[in-house]
């Protein structure tokens, strides 16, 4: 087992030298981020697990081509988003997407009341539904910037677009998300 203290770059170098165990360190370090990104892109737990696994395996196969110009996480984000986008498109063609009714959404408050817990869960499901209805590119930019708090520069590198394009796309994506959530969150407000 490679020490957890070493950087991603060092792990990548070891992996490129043939030390396969270094990859396990990278998996443990990034699995949660990648899995959550995939889950929010797809809205399905099992699909997210499968896509995350495929993303890590693709990264392992292509590790020889990784030159280290960008962060490993950036590179890994790009791979995961590509897999998730492809899967999301194929799922969209197969069926009308809907948020799976499952108890995968964790409670943020450890001791919430029943009514509060139900309301929060419903809000999360609504948000997830809205994300699912967005274009994959819009959803990706929102998730990277707002959910993962990835800096604009890195988002630009992940999406391989200029920073200005990232900003305009993010603004457009937020407007689209607001429109999706308007009927639920702001109906009463507009009526007032």
């Amino acid at each position: 087992m490679v020490s957890e203290a070493i950087s991603d770059a060092e792990c990548v170098r070891k992996l490129q030298r043939g030390e396969t165990d270094a990859f396990e360190t990278l998996i443990r370090r990034h699995q949660k981020t990648i899995f959550n990104l995939a889950y929010r892109m797809l809205g399905d737990y099992d699909e997210a697990a499968e896509i995350s696994q495929e993303a890590f395996l693709s990264a392992y196969r292509a590790i020889g081509n990784f030159r280290g110009d960008a962060n490993f996480s950036t590179w890994l984000y790009r791979i995961a988003l590509n897999h998730a986008t492809t899967r999301r498109k194929s799922l969209n063609t197969r069926q009308q997407r809907s948020v799976p009714i499952e108890n995968t959404e964790p409670a943020s408050d450890p001791h919430p009341g029943p009514a509060e817990s139900m309301e929060k869960k419903e809000i999360r499901q609504r948000v997830q539904q809205a994300l699912n209805r967005l274009d994959p590119e819009d959803a990706a930019v929102i998730l990277l910037r707002d959910l993962q708090d990835v800096p604009y520069e890195e988002v630009a590198r992940v999406l391989e677009i200029p920073i200005g394009t990232v900003k305009s796309r993010l603004h457009r994506a937020r407007q689209a998300l607001k429109s999706e959530l308007a009927s639920y969150f702001y109906a009463g407000r507009k009526a007032v």
């Binding site: 697990a49 998300l177 607001k178």
Partner: protein
């Protein structure tokens, strides 16, 4: 700052990346402008909702599962290795390859044997030919007789083979030391064995198939010049003696239609000269006795005994060159009584004359006719 300018800076304002003076101006506008304030509020709310989405844990053992797949990929040979180093793991595949090779071999042998079984037999006759030394008497080489059972075709086909083998052994012995007494003993044994087989099979008619090629080298070019072909002498014999035979081809009876068919009858066992000499001796003896004892009572003549019928009929096939046909017919007439002589139509005769092959002649040999009861001597 107007609404358009605020909208331009709204993203940075919400991200809190604007400088302080710009942030103050945007905030002042948002307080004073209700629509801009509402939109900013709603966008901020959306961002908060997304940010508030909880982080889920990946499935348990996710890393181990991915690493297991990674180790599988690591073990698997790459396309390059598979293409250019196919023998790198040959030991793993060797049992499979060896089994496949053995299976292919077995299938090949089976197919080969099956193919041989399906091959049609050659149309030409298998010749049971006795090798005859040129110039030797015709009774030295005698056609072999084969018993054929109709029920067991294979046995019938194998019988000539066995006989041929036996005859070869006999011929070898004959070549080593060829006293005529040994030959006759061997022939006697063969006849006995054959008669036993006949008794066992209890089949009365014995069909004999024999084809003799008169074009065989040495047949007609001996010391004595144009020596007669061997088989005709055997017509007189009740049971043929074995000769040196070479089994070339055996074809079931009836496969070829004979060009000529003769029906002949064997002559009585005793030849005329022997009969004449014996009768002359008997006459002389009786004359002596008459002179010695006067007119004594003559001994009663023994009643005539019916000749033993060795076989009902015998069919032989001969391969004769067209130019030797007349000679063959003459020889046949000298050896046996021709009862039926073929008279093919003129067209067929011409067709036969134009043949480029040997004539196939079928000779049906009938047993000798019963001698008429001799008149009592006076």
């Amino acid at each position: 700052m107007n609404c358009e300018e605020v909208k331009a800076h709204l993203l940075d304002y919400l991200d809190k990346t604007l400088d302080t003076p710009t942030t103050t101006r945007v905030a002042t506008h948002l307080i004073s402008c209700a629509p801009c304030g509402a939109e900013a509020s709603e966008l901020a709310d959306c961002m908060d909702q997304v940010t508030a989405l909880p982080a889920l844990d990946p499935p348990l053992g996710f890393a181990q599962r991915v690493m297991a797949h990674v180790r599988e990929i690591e073990k698997r040979p790459t396309i390059w290795e598979r293409l250019f180093m196919p023998w790198s793991n040959w030991t793993k595949w060797m049992p499979l390859q060896a089994t496949a090779l053995v299976m292919v071999g077995i299938i090949g042998i089976v197919l080969y044997q099956k193919d041989n079984r399906l091959k049609p037999t050659e149309p030409t006759n298998r010749t049971l030919s006795a090798s005859v030394k040129p110039g030797t008497p015709s009774n030295e080489s005698i056609p072999a007789v084969t018993n054929q059972t109709d029920k067991k075709k294979e046995a019938a086909l194998q019988a000539p083979v066995a006989l041929a083998k036996r005859a070869e052994q006999v011929a070898e012995k004959k070549q080593r030391s060829s006293p005529s007494s040994e030959q006759s003993q061997i022939a006697k044994r063969e006849v006995e064995a054959r008669s036993e087989e006949t008794k066992i099979s209890r089949r009365a008619p014995i069909q004999v198939q024999e084809a003799i090629n008169m074009r065989e080298p040495g047949r007609f070019s001996g010391e004595g010049g144009f020596a007669p072909p061997m088989p005709l002498g055997g017509l007189r014999q009740a049971a043929p003696r074995p000769g040196t035979m070479a089994l070339d081809r055996v074809v079931p009876l009836g496969e070829r239609v004979a060009d000529y068919e003769f029906v002949v009858r064997r002559r009585p066992p005793q030849r005329r000269d022997q009969v004449e000499s014996s009768s002359a001796d008997a006459l002389k003896k009786s004359t002596d006795e008459d002179t010695a004892s006067g007119l004594a009572a003559r001994p009663a003549t023994p009643p005539p005994t019916a000749p033993k019928i060795e076989s009902i009929a015998e069919i032989r096939f001969y391969n004769v060159a067209p130019e030797h046909f007349e000679y063959f017919k003459k020889e046949l007439a000298s050896e046996a009584i021709i009862e039926t002589e073929p008279k093919p139509p003129a067209a067929k005769e011409k067709e036969i004359a134009d043949l480029d092959r040997l004539l196939l002649i079928k000779v049906t040999i009938l047993p000798p006719a019963l001698p008429e009861p001799a008149a009592p001597p006076r």
